[in-house]
Each structure stands twice: as C-alpha cells, then as structure tokens.
C-alpha cells in the first residue's frame, strides 16, 4: 500500500488532459487506460479520511474512503471505461476528454470528505457535462446545452449558499447526515435534488440528454443523477420527504415516457423513474433500503448505459431518433437488438438480471417497514417500468411494423461495449453476491426465493399483456409533451416580452408627451410674441414694471 494516496479523481483529470496533448494515435489508448488505472487507485483508498489539503485558508478533506464511496467510484470508473470503449473510434478527442473530466468530477464527489470538495467537483461535472451536450453539434444541442448549464449553475449556487450557511452556523462542512432544520440545510437539500432531477425541475434531463451525440448520451446517462443519489445517501438518509419525492419521480418518469416518441427521450424519462426508486429507498432509510438504493444505482448505471448504447447505435447507423420512423431493425441489427433487449429486461427487473437483485431490496424494505401505500405504489411502478422502458423501447425501435430501414450492426467497438455491459447485467443478476459484497451494510437478503420469482414474473408478464392489449392506444405521434421547462422556455419569455413591450410603450408615451409639451410651449412663444409683455391692456404691464423700477431707484437714492 502506498503511503501517499493519489486522489483517483486527479488521476483521471490528468489522463483526460493528456488526451488533448497526446499524438492522435495514442489518444484511444490513453482514453481506454485512464479509467482502468483510476479504478486501481479507487481500490487503494482505505476507509476514513485519507488526504487533506489547504484551500483558500480552509482545511479540506480531499479523499475520504468508505465501502459506499468506493462502490459509487467503482461503477463510475467502469462506466467511463465502457463509454470510452463505445465511443473511442467515433467521437472526437475533445468529446472523450470532456467525458472523462465529467467522470472525474463524479469520482471526486464520491470521495469528497467535506462539502467544499464536493462542491468543487460538482461544478466540474456541471461544466463538462455541458460540453458533452454541446458535442451533439447541432443547433438544438447548442440551445439545450445552454439551458442545461443555466439549471446546473443555478443549482450549484443554491448548494453553495447552503454550504456557506452551514459553515457560518456550525463551523464545519464535513459530510455527515443533516436534518432539515435550517435554511442552510434546506439549500443543500434543494441543490442536491436539482441534480437528481427531482420535481419540479426534472425537465432539464429529458431536454438535454437526447440532444447529445450518439456516444455522448451514454456518458450523460450515468454521472450527474447518481452522484446526487450518493450525496443524498450521505447527507439525508431516512429523510421521510424523500419517499414522496421519489414516488413522484417514479410515476412522472413512467407517464412522460409513455407519451414520448423520441427513443432517447424515453430512456431519459426512465432515468428519472429509476432515480425515483433510489430516492424513495433513501427516504425509507433502513439499512436494507440504503443498501438497495446503492445497489440499484450500481445496477442502473450499467443497464441504462447499455440502453443508451443500443439507442446510440441505432441513431449512429440510421440518423433516426423517432420511434415513429423506426421499427423492424431486428432483421439487420441482431447484436444491437439482443443487447438492447437485455438492457430492457434488466431495467424491468426480470429474474437473472441485475435489476431484479437490486430493485427488490428497495421494495422489500418498504414492506418490512409496513409502509403499505409505498409498497403498493412501488409494485405498480415496477410493472410500469416494464411497460414504458422494458417493452416500449425495444418494441418500437427493433420490432413493431417494418420501417424499411436496413442498417447494419454498428462498428466493432460499439458492439464490444454493448456485449461487455450485457454480460455485466446478466452476471450481476446470476451472481448477486458480487454486488452484495460491495454494499455499505452487511446483506442478509436473499433475492431468489421461489415466491419472489413467481410473483415478479406474474407482475411483469401481465404488464406485458397490458402493453399489447393497449397497443392501439399507444400509437406513436409526432409530438412532444409539455413539462416544467415550458415555464422557462415559453411562459417567462412571454412575461418578459409583455413587460418589455409595455415598458417600451410607456417610454414612447412619455417621450411623446414631453416633446408635445415642449413643442407647444415653443409654438406658443413663437406665434404670440406680444402676448405677455406687450398686451394692450389699459395701463400696460410694462408701464407698471417701469414704475416699480423707478420707485426702487428713488428709494435707493434716498437711502
């Protein structure tokens, strides 16, 4: 064990920057090696505070290890590797570099010992995820990136206000469980929740992610929301409000995904849905629930990346992103179809996939706490996941009516990445001990009992039946659905426009009035020059004034 611990995030930042200055031939090698080397150093971090530094006069804790932190950092590094493997022959080097810097922000947050360090890496993520959105290269990607950046910078400011408040009130910004009893902790809570895509600010996710490049979406799906989940586990475990926020996110994701036509936007809504399960588990707050939230985050990152890869492969090969233009691709894209379907089964928590062993922990924790309403809602939502992502995505993209598109499977590196993550999805599902041994609390949960498997299969298969029965009601239309972003994309500009017009009119009116009064005065003076001093009234005002003047002169002479 090295005496000096290199912060894993710094290592990845270094690797990402090196890509820029390296010779083009070396770039893919660097991009692939950086996450793996980082992964090695992640596993060298021991429990407890490992490294402190002085920053702007504060003692900050750069690296703090624990099982939970290593778990998240591990999956972030794995994700970075899989993403680079998927992208390295197609992406420009700056997209790879930005994606790795984005991942390094996530790993930095994972190991942050205090809120100052967390904030710094938090902003690093905001910055480079925006760059990844911009790498989409289209006009709509540019605009979506700006909206995305504004939301996250505002979220960052809210978080910063909370951190400063905590620093003043308590004198410490160490990361520990907080309770919502002061303005400052509320600000931290809101700041973190904005990154988790919690209501009402959920729209940024489905607005920005689908505008990225086919490769960029894979990276975007993983880091921002899941670092927010980790932060919630560390800062607000067992906060009951999170249960309701989580349930809202779960059903929001399902309903909007059911309405959606853009394949990557369907997957984006289902990120909100899945993060909702984790947030709900954090709200329940028992050891089983927190284990479940952490395990679900791990499993989710892998199968959601896999789904984004298969959607990215379709987009890359066909240039089409709308379900209404896709369909029948299983004929010529067998590998993508199989991998996408495995991802879809995993997100639906089918037995023998990673989703089954992680999501059921959250559901069981609600049952164990006798939260009847929460449990029934979670079970309904589990069926709903199969409906909106598990069947809808593969059905409309790979099956349904034939679109006539005959694209081949994507280049080998994309296929390799998809196969790697498919193997992980199945592997974790078949050998749950692999994941359970990494969890923060000891696990005595057994996912594979006969009754659990049977009830889960009943639930999912009958949800599948519902899908095909209701298929006529789910015909794809060329539409989008209004969301909260309508407020800042339409309502606020409209209000500002109305105010601007009104103020402009008012200014014009004032200008006109002033000019009118002035012009009239001048006209009055010009047209009636004798009106005042030379009027022909009997005495004549001039005569009176002359008399007054004379009187004054006489008086002065006497005095």
């Amino acid at each position: 064990m090295l005496e000096f611990v290199l912060p894993p995030a710094f290592l990845m930042i270094f690797g990402a920057l090196l890509i820029g200055v390296a010779r083009p031939a070396l770039r893919p090698l660097l991009a692939l090696a950086t996450p793996l080397v980082t992964l090695y150093f992640i596993w060298q971090v021991d429990d407890g505070i490992q490294q402190t530094a002085t920053f702007l006069g504060y003692q900050i804790q750069l690296v703090e290890g624990s099982a939970l932190r290593r778990l998240f950092a591990t999956v972030f590094a794995l994700m970075a590797f899989g993403g680079v493997l998927f992208a390295f022959r197609q992406s420009k080097w700056w997209e790879l570099s930005a994606a790795l810097l984005y991942a390094s922000g996530a790993i930095g947050v994972s190991f942050a010992g205090d809120l100052l360090v967390m904030f710094l890496f938090w902003e690093l993520m905001a910055l480079f995820s925006t760059v990844v959105v911009w790498c989409g290269g289209t006009e709509s990607a540019r605009a979506a990136g700006i909206r995305y950046a504004i939301i996250h910078l505002v979220g960052g400011i809210i978080l910063k206000i909370g951190i400063e408040g905590l620093l003043i009130q308590t004198g410490t910004v160490e990361i520990r469980a907080l309770s919502l009893d002061s303005f400052a902790t509320w600000m931290v809570f809101i700041g973190v929740l904005i990154n988790a895509a919690a209501p009402p600010i959920s729209a940024w996710l489905a607005d920005a992610y689908p505008e990225s490049s086919p490769m960029g979406g894979v990276f975007l799906s993983a880091f921002t929301t899941k670092t927010a989940v980790l932060s919630l586990i560390l800062l607000f475990p067992g906060q009951p409000l999170l249960i309701w926020i989580g349930l809202f996110m779960i059903f929001y994701g399902i309903i909007y995904a059911l309405l959606e036509n853009d394949m990557r936007r369907i997957l984006s809504y289902s990120i909100v849905n899945q993060v909702g399960f984790m947030v709900c588990g954090i709200g329940i707050g028992t050891e089983l629930a927190l284990n479940g939230a952490a395990a679900h985050a791990f499993a989710h990152i892998i199968y959601k990346a896999l789904l984004f890869m298969s959607a990215g492969a379709v987009l890359y090969q066909t240039g089409e992103r709308k379900c209404s233009n896709l369909g029948g691709l299983f004929r010529t894209m067998p590998v993508t179809t199989i991998c996408g379907t495995i991802g879809a089964l995993a997100i639906s928590a089918f037995p023998l996939t990673s989703g089954f062993i992680s999501k059921s922990m959250i559901n069981s924790s609600a049952a164990a706490e006798h939260m009847a309403f929460v449990w029934f809602a979670l079970v309904a939502a589990s069926a709903g996941v199969f409906l909106h992502a598990g069947i809808k995505f593969p059905w409309f993209v790979f099956f349904q009516k034939d679109s006539g598109l005959r694209p081949a499977d994507p280049p080998w590196n994309m296929q390799a990445a998809m196969i790697l993550f498919s193997v992980l999805c199945i592997g974790l599902g078949v050998f749950p001990g692999l994941l359970y041994s990494l969890l923060p609390y000891p696990v005595d949960y057994v996912p594979y009992t006969a009754d659990h498997v049977v009830t889960q299969l009943q639930l999912l298969l009958f949800a599948g039946l519902a899908f095909f029965v209701m298929l006529p009601m789910m015909r794809r239309t060329l539409t989008i659905s209004l969301d909260f972003d309508w407020v800042y994309r339409r309502a606020l500009p409209w209000v500002v426009g109305v105010l601007d017009t009104a103020l402009g009119r008012a200014r014009d009116a004032v200008t006109r009035a002033v000019l009118l009064v002035g012009a009239n005065t001048v006209q009055l003076i010009r047209e009636k020059p004798y009106g005042y001093f030379s009027s022909r009234s009997p005495m004549g005002r001039t005569a009176i004034w002359m008399a007054v003047l004379l009187a004054v002169v006489v008086l002065l002479a006497i005095v």
Partner: protein
C-alpha cells in the same frame, strides 16, 4: 420535415436507404405471431398456476392471494396507459413546438412589427 432534428455530425456513416417494408420475415408472419400469442398465454397461465404449489409470503394479506400480482400488474398498467393518454390530450404539442425560426438580426428581420418599422424609417431618413 424531420431533417432539422436529425443528427448531422460530419462523420456519421448513416445508412438512410429505406427498402419497401417486408412482412415475410418468419418472425412477423401471422402464423408465427399466432403461435407466439399461444406460447405467451401458456406462460401467463403457468405463472398463476405455479402459485398453487408455491406459498407466497405476503406482508399485507392481499398480496398472498392467488394471481394478485397478475391482476394488480395488469390493471395498474392499463390505468397508467389510460392516465397518460388523458394527460396527453392536455400536454401533447407538435414536435416542432419549441422551434424558433432562426433570425439573422433584429434590424433585418423585425421590419414587420411596429417598432421595427420605426427603425426602417430612421434608416431611410438617414439615407436621404
């Protein structure tokens, strides 16, 4: 009409050729689909029948009933689809709803509206 939305990076090898849709792949033939429905139905029945042999440990009473998960899964999904459909009436918009036509500059483009007209007048006056 979807051209603006398409991903048009410089080096993407899109293959946009569309062939006439075929309905003769073995997987999409009506006979196969009929068979698939039968198999699907059999599996559905099997999952419910299995509950006669496996005791389901429930937490709330209701969830121990035979076929509870089947019925609950089916009904909640139908409910969600219908709810989404109803919400869609209110929330759905054409997919170019947010698209704003690109404008070169307010001076050139806003000749139509009232304040733009003022500007045009000024420009003409200056020219004269």
């Amino acid at each position: 009409m979807t051209d603006q939305h398409k991903h048009n990076g410089p080096d993407h090898g899109h293959d946009r050729r569309r062939e006439t849709p075929d309905n003769d792949h073995w997987l999409v033939r009506p006979a196969t689909i009929r068979k698939l429905w039968w198999i699907f139905g059999a599996i559905l029945a099997a999952t419910v029948v299995a509950q006669f042999f496996i005791h389901v440990h429930g937490y709330f009473g209701v969830d121990e009933w035979t076929g509870f998960n089947a019925l609950y899964g089916f009904l909640t999904c139908v409910g969600m689809v219908v709810f989404a459909k109803l919400l869609g009436i209110w929330l759905k918009r054409p997919d170019d709803y947010y698209r704003i036509e690109p404008r070169l500059s307010p001076d050139i483009d806003s000749g139509r509206d009232k304040r733009g007209k003022d500007k045009t007048d000024q420009r003409e006056n200056r020219d004269a």
